[in-house]
C-alpha cells in the first residue's frame, strides 16, 4: 500500500488511519472466516490453527441438506429472475418510451415497497398468504421474492432504455427496419449490458434473500441462507458454517465484479434519493 497520495507531498495520515481501521473492521472478520473454512483443528487459545486441511469441505458437501438447499436456492433464484425479467423488462420499456395515463404515478409507486419497514411488510403479506395456503410452498416464496426484485428490475432498465441513442433507432427505421428488428439490433445491444447487470443483481439478491424465505418458506422450503441460520443457531461443527460462508460468497463476488458498472460514482446513491 502506498502511503503517499501521489499529488501531495505530505503523508495522508487521515487516509492511513481510515484504511487501517476499515481493514481491521471489514477485511479481518472475513479473513477469520476464510481461515476457519480451511481448518481441521483450532483449539483455543492458539493464534494459528493446529492443522489445516480440506476435510470439512468433503463433510459439508456430503450433507444431503446442503445439496438440497443449494439446488432449491438456485431453482428459486432462476425462476424468480426469469419471471421478474419477463414482467419487468417490457414494463421498463413502456415506462421509458411510451406515454400512458398515470405513467409518473405508477413509476414512483414502486417505491412503496421500500418505504415501509421490510419485516413488518412481510408479516402483513404472510397474514394474507396464510389464508391462501401459500405458507411453506415454493410458489409462496417465489411471489415474495419476486416483489423484492420489482424496483431494481424496473428502474435500472428504464435508465438503460432512456440512454439509448434515439437517432440510431430512427435511422434504422428510415432504411426500412421493422419495430422488432430495430429493438433487437439497435436498442437491445446498447441497453443490454446495464440490463444484464440488473438481472444479475436480482439473481444474487434473490439467492441471499433470507427474511421472506424464512417467514414464508418454513418449514417446507429451506433455502441456503435459511439452512445457514439453523447451522449458526444449533452451533454445529464450526467449520460447516465457515465452508458454507466461503461457498456462498462466490456468487456475491461475481456480482461485485459486474456491479462496478452500475454502482459507479454517485449514480447508485442518487437512485436512493441522496
Amino acid at each position: 500500500m502506498s502511503t503517499l497520495a501521489p499529488s501531495r507531498p505530505r503523508t495522508d495520515w487521515t487516509g492511513i488511519v481510515f484504511a487501517a481501521l476499515l481493514s481491521a473492521a471489514i477485511v479481518f472478520p472475513l479473513l477469520v472466516v476464510g481461515t476457519w473454512a480451511f481448518t481441521e483443528v483450532w483449539r483455543y487459545p492458539n493464534v494459528i490453527p493446529q492443522q489445516f486441511g480440506l476435510r470439512f469441505w468433503g463433510q459439508t458437501l456430503g450433507r444431503p441438506d446442503v445439496w438440497g438447499s443449494l439446488m432449491l436456492s438456485l431453482q428459486l433464484s432462476t425462476v424468480v429472475t426469469l419471471l421478474s425479467a419477463a414482467i419487468c423488462l417490457p414494463a421498463a420499456y413502456a415506462f421509458a418510451r411510451m406515454d400512458f395515463p398515470g405513467r409518473t404515478f405508477l413509476f414512483f409507486s414502486f417505491l412503496a415497497g421500500h418505504a415501509f419497514p421490510k419485516f413488518g411488510l412481510l408479516i402483513a403479506i404472510a397474514a394474507i398468504f396464510l389464508q391462501l395456503n401459500l405458507i411453506g410452498t415454493f410458489w409462496g416464496v417465489v411471489l415474495i421474492q419476486l416483489v423484492g426484485t420489482l424496483l431494481f428490475m424496473i428502474w435500472i432498465p428504464v435508465a438503460a432504455f432512456q440512454s439509448v441513442d434515439r437517432r440510431m433507432e430512427e435511422a434504422a427505421r428510415d432504411v426500412g427496419a421493422g419495430p422488432f428488428r430495430v429493438f433487437w439490433s439497435v436498442t437491445l445491444p446498447q441497453a443490454g449490458p446495464t440490463i444484464a447487470a440488473a438481472v444479475l443483481l436480482s439473481f444474487v439478491g434473490t439467492f441471499y434473500e433470507t427474511e421472506g424465505a424464512w417467514l414464508i418458506g418454513a418449514p417446507g422450503i429451506r433455502t441456503m441462507p435459511v439452512l445457514m441460520i439453523s447451522f449458526i443457531n444449533n452451533q454445529m461443527v464450526i467449520q460447516f458454517g465457515a465452508v458454507l460462508s466461503v461457498m456462498l460468497w462466490v456468487p456475491s463476488f461475481i456480482a461485485l465484479m459486474f456491479a462496478r458498472r452500475v454502482i459507479g460514482g454517485g449514480a447508485f446513491a442518487r437512485g436512493f434519493g441522496a
Binding site: 477485511v27 477469520v32 421490510k118
Partner: protein
C-alpha cells in the same frame, strides 16, 4: 437510474396517442403484483386489526390488540430496545460515515480509492455471512479473545447475544449505503466555497459546521431515513446476534407469527412498526421522487 426526467434535453416520451393502451398493458403485471402484495397487505393489516369480530362474532371497531400491546410490559420492552437500537445505529453510522465521506470527497489517489472500496465492500457480504463472522471474531473465545490472550490481556465481554450485538452488525451492514448517499450529497459542496472559507481563516471544524453541513443536511436526512427503515424491523442480525429477551420488533413479530401462532398480534406489531417509520418512509419517497424529477 438517474437520467429519468431530463425532459428538456430530448423528447423523453413518444407522443403517439395510438400507443396509450399498449403502455398500460405492458406495465399492468408488475403494477398489479405490487398492488396485490404491497399496497393491499398494508391496508388489510390496518383494517383487520381495527375492524374485527368480538367475542360474540359481531364485526365492529375494536382496538383491543393495540391496547394489549401498549399495556404489555414485554411488548413495551421490545419496542424500547428497537427504538434504542435504531437510534444508536443511526448515531454511530453518522459518526463513522460522515468523516469517511468527507475524506473521500476531498482526496484523490490510490489510498482514498482503497478506503472507498473497503467502505462499499459490506454491500457484497450477505448479512448471514456477516452474522457468522461476527460470532467467530467477537463471540466467546473468538479471534479477538485469542489475540488478547496471546498478549496477556483479559478477554472482552462479548457483545454476542447482548443488545450491542445487533448494533455492531447493523452498523457494519449499513456503512456502504450511508457512505454512498453522503458522498453523493457532498458532491454539491464546491471546492471554491471551502477554499474561500479557508482563505478568510476558517478552521476545519468551522468549515464543516458552516459550509459543509448546511449543504448536505438533506443527504444526511436521506441516509438516516434509509438506515432507520432498514434497521427498525430488521430480522436476521437481531435474531442471530441479539438477546432472546428483550428482542427487537423483527424477531418479536416472527415469534408471534410463527411460534406463538398468533397472526392478529403479529399484524398489530407490524402496524405499530409502520406507524413509527411512516415519517421516514414519506421523507424517503419524497426525496427520491424530487431527485428523479430534477
Amino acid at each position: 437510474m438517474t437520467e429519468l426526467a431530463e425532459g428538456g434535453a430530448r423528447p423523453l416520451i413518444e407522443k403517439t396517442g395510438s400507443r396509450r393502451p399498449t403502455g398500460l398493458l405492458l406495465v399492468a403485471v408488475p403494477v398489479l403484483l405490487m398492488a396485490w402484495l404491497i399496497i393491499w397487505p398494508i391496508f388489510n393489516a390496518f383494517a383487520r386489526t381495527v375492524w374485527r369480530p368480538d367475542a360474540d362474532g359481531d364485526y365492529g371497531f375494536n382496538l383491543s390488540s393495540y391496547v394489549f400491546f401498549f399495556s404489555d410490559q414485554y411488548s413495551i420492552n421490545n419496542l424500547t430496545i428497537t427504538l434504542w437500537t435504531t437510534g444508536m445505529c443511526a448515531l454511530l453510522l453518522l459518526v463513522i460515515c460522515l468523516p469517511i465521506a468527507i475524506y473521500l470527497r476531498f482526496s484523490h489517489g490510490r489510498l482514498p480509492a482503497y478506503v472507498q472500496a473497503l467502505a462499499i465492500f459490506p454491500m457484497f457480504v450477505p448479512s448471514i455471512i456477516l452474522a457468522y463472522a461476527f460470532i467467530r471474531v467477537l463471540g466467546p473465545n473468538g479471534m479477538v479473545d485469542i489475540l488478547l490472550n496471546s498478549v496477556g490481556l483479559p478477554k472482552i465481554r462479548t457483545p454476542y447475544l447482548t443488545p450491542w450485538g445487533p448494533v455492531i452488525g447493523l452498523v457494519w451492514d449499513n456503512i456502504p449505503l450511508t457512505v454512498l448517499i453522503l458522498l453523493a450529497g457532498l458532491g454539491s459542496v464546491s471546492n471554491q466555497a471551502i477554499e474561500a472559507a479557508r482563505d478568510v481563516g476558517a478552521r476545519r471544524l468551522q468549515v464543516f459546521w458552516y459550509i459543509i453541513l448546511p449543504r448536505i443536511s438533506n443527504s444526511v436526512l436521506v441516509a438516516i431515513s434509509f438506515a432507520v427503515l432498514g434497521i427498525f424491523s430488521s430480522f436476521t442480525l437481531p435474531y442471530l446476534l441479539g438477546p432472546a429477551s428483550p428482542e427487537m420488533m423483527g424477531p418479536f413479530m416472527n415469534r408471534t407469527f410463527r411460534e406463538v401462532n398468533d397472526p392478529l398480534n403479529a399484524i398489530t406489531q407490524a402496524v405499530i412498526t409502520f406507524c413509527f417509520c411512516i415519517a421516514f418512509g414519506l421523507f424517503y419517497v419524497r426525496s427520491v421522487a424530487r431527485n428523479q424529477g430534477k
